[in-house]
């Protein structure tokens, strides 16, 4: 697949797998979803490694990581602990210059100061978090630092992931008062890695749209425009995005069925990853669409996103979709660029697909996109024109996106029969799911596999990573996406982050991280952060006087993810 690499370097995992086996696997997952068959790992065809892959499917034990780019030398660490990235906090922990409680308290202080405006949180288990931080600090005092990749890192978790002993509502009346006894697997792995639950974040009811109450009152604002609720914070993981961008938490988790990790990441200047379907377990995630739901990290840079993915990813007996994939590779190494003579470059030679029309846009956006491509070329990335066929465009369109709806409706039928008011403003798309006939659903599922096949044959024939104008096609077919900022542009009289969406082949997370890591080592756009909400705005919000915005069932149905 055209990959060259430094001597001794293994190829990235996507170059080592038989992509046809991924198509077969997706077909089985789809069929199982249709038939309601409880998939067992042994029934799922494995993604096969190509004979000459040199072991690229296996984990790397490398733990040697280069220093970050020039903008992030030790002296440039933020002064307020809540502004630190995870890797920065870990360095300070290792040097004994920061403790878990100190970091947690800094985040809680920020939360208290800013969340009246942001409205990014649903639940804050303060006592539990402080207990964990205290225990970690005591352990560090007696045993020294260094246990667990995330030891002492406060994280935020979208409110549709189960968190043991902590309210999990998905912002819906259906789950009002629900306190799970167990953690979702993704969160459980982070917690075992030492992470502390700072809070559960606001979301669109049942993950359908931007964060709001079931009655349609917009809650979370965009941290870049805290005084204007009309500025969208992104999709349904917007609570996590605002908490991370707005200086309250170093990173967090979102879920994506229709753009909900990548859209808020783009809207708020973060790096977010929607991994390949099956890479991260969905056990303990309140479902939206069985065959399209993904859990992904949202972070302040690619390095932190890689770290979270590293800890979360892997097979889970409780989620058969995770079975049969090659072992989790070393994302933490993949994200670190190598020295290329004229600055940091991705560790694998990469062909970046640029779809027709992607760069030919006016204004700031066009300028940012041209700058991005120029910098990528300077980093040794080969730009390749990509011309998706009419068939590809059609299969990736909204008509086929609708095929997700019956999968949304079916598990909730009991609640629809009980009382449709439980769904609040999200009711529309659950009702629509009753109006696709069986033949249309089957046809849509075949079209979806056709889209996957065409994506592999047409798009990834000529490139390794492709720029995407929309998240939609890759959401439909379970391929990985990475969103990251590339600069600021003026929108409605204020500066807002703009970004790119990179799509990868099956298990192409390493490729995506390698590009993002090189870009962020060469530029400083990912360091831009919004200003704190001003004191008057905070005071107004505390009094309940902030501007209110409501959306109704029609708006939510038209924007449903």
């Amino acid at each position: 697949m055209g990959t060259t690499m430094a001597e001794g370097e293994r190829p990235p995992q996507d170059a080592a797998i038989d992509r046809r086996s991924f198509v077969t696997r997706m077909g089985v997952i789809t069929a199982a979803a249709m038939a309601g068959v409880p998939l067992e790992g042994r029934a799922l065809p494995p993604v096969e490694l190509l004979p000459a892959s040199g072991g690229a499917g296996a984990s790397s034990s490398s733990s040697s990581h280069a220093d970050p780019g020039r903008a992030e030398l030790d002296g440039a660490f933020p002064t307020h602990p809540a502004d630190l990235k995870i890797w920065q906090a870990r360095r300070l922990f290792a040097r004994g210059e920061l403790g878990a409680m100190e970091l947690l308290e800094a985040c809680l202080e920020r939360l208290d100061a800013r969340d009246p405006v942001y409205r990014a949180f649903n639940a804050v288990p303060r006592g539990q978090a402080m207990e964990v931080a205290r225990a970690l600090d005591e352990e560090t005092r007696s045993l020294g630092p260094g246990r667990g990749l995330l030891a002492g890192i406060p994280l935020v978790v979208k409110d549709n992931l189960w968190t043991a002993g902590v309210l999990t509502t998905a912002n819906s009346r259906i789950f009002q008062g629900f306190v799970p006894a167990e953690d979702a697997t993704a969160w459980a792995r982070l917690r075992v890695g030492g992470a502390i639950l700072l809070g559960k974040t606001q979301m669109g009811p049942l993950a359908t749209t931007r964060a709001m109450t079931p009655d349609g009152e917009v809650t979370t604002v965009n941290a870049w425009a805290p005084d204007d609720p009309r500025v969208s914070p992104g999709g349904s993981s917007s609570g996590t995005a605002t908490a991370v961008a707005g200086g309250v938490a170093p990173a967090g988790l979102g879920t994506q069925t229709g753009g909900s990790v990548t859209v808020p990441s783009l809207a708020q200047g973060l790096t977010g990853i929607k991994p390949t379907l099956g890479r991260v377990s969905l056990r303990g995630v309140i479902p939206l669409t069985y065959s399209r739901d993904h859990v992904g990290p949202m972070a302040r840079d690619a390095r932190d996103a890689a770290l979270l993915l590293q800890v979360m990813a892997g097979a889970d007996p409780a989620d058969p979709r995770t079975a049969g994939l090659p072992p989790v590779p070393d994302y933490r190494t993949a994200v670190e660029p190598v020295e290329g003579g004229r600055g940091p470059i991705p560790r694998w030679s990469t062909r970046l697909g640029v779809p027709e029309g992607w760069v030919e846009v006016d204004g700031d956006r066009g300028r940012l996109r041209r700058d991005f491509l120029n910098e990528m070329e300077a980093a040794g990335v080969r730009l390749v024109d990509v011309h998706p066929s009419e068939e590809w465009r059609e299969l990736g369109s909204g008509m086929f996106n609708a095929v997700r709806l019956p999968e949304r409706t079916e598990p909730f039928l009991e609640h629809l029969r009980d009382d449709v008011r439980l769904f609040g403003v999200s009711l529309g798309s659950w009702i629509q799911g009753l109006f696709l006939s069986g033949d249309e659903y089957l046809k849509g599922q075949r079209a979806r596999l056709g889209l996957l096949r065409l994506t592999l044959e047409e798009i990834f024939r000529d490139c390794d990573v492709v720029l995407q104008p929309s998240h939609l096609p890759f959401d439909m077919i379970g391929l990985p996406l990475l969103a990251m900022p590339i600069g600021m542009r003026e929108v409605g009289g204020r500066e807002r982050p703009d970004g790119v969406l990179l799509g990868g082949p099956p298990l192409g997370e390493e490729r995506l991280l390698a590009l993002a890591g090189a870009w962020q080592a060469r530029t400083e756009h990912h360091l831009a952060r919004p200003e704190a909400p001003d004191a008057e705005l905070v005071e107004t919000a505390r009094r309940g006087g902030a501007e209110k915005l409501r959306h109704d069932v029609t708006w939510v149905t038209e924007h449903a993810q």
């Binding site: 449709v420 008011r421 403003v425 529309g428 629509q432 069932v553």
Partner: protein
């Protein structure tokens, strides 16, 4: 890949007239009744409410006329999806003449 009104053996197929709002509303009510779902707990029409019956029906009508109709009329390209063995649309002979499709014994 575009919607194709023709199909093997029926070059002059007539497309029925598009349904009216009233016909679609009747369909929507009936479908929900069959599924055991009661929309009447919502107000019939109240612009101040998060949802009402009028807006739900309007949204379903748009969905039916747009997405569902397009999807229903769209045909798989046999070049991309080789025909499965079972679909009856692949028959070239009327039922019974090939000895395979005459009796519907399930």
């Amino acid at each position: 890949m575009s919607p194709n009104p023709g199909s093997p053996g029926s070059p002059s197929r007539r497309r029925p007239e598009d349904p009216t709002d009233e016909e679609l509303d009747a369909f929507i009510r009936t479908r929900l009744q069959l599924a055991g779902i009661d929309l009447s707990v919502l107000p019939e029409e109240d612009p101040d409410a998060p949802a009402d019956q009028v807006r739900i029906r309007a949204s379903v009508r748009r969905f039916l006329r747009g997405t569902v109709q397009s999807l229903s009329r769209w045909e798989l390209d046999p070049g991309l999806w080789p025909p499965a063995l079972y679909p009856s649309r692949m028959m070239v002979a009327p039922p019974g003449e090939d000895g395979l499709h005459g009796d519907d014994h399930g």
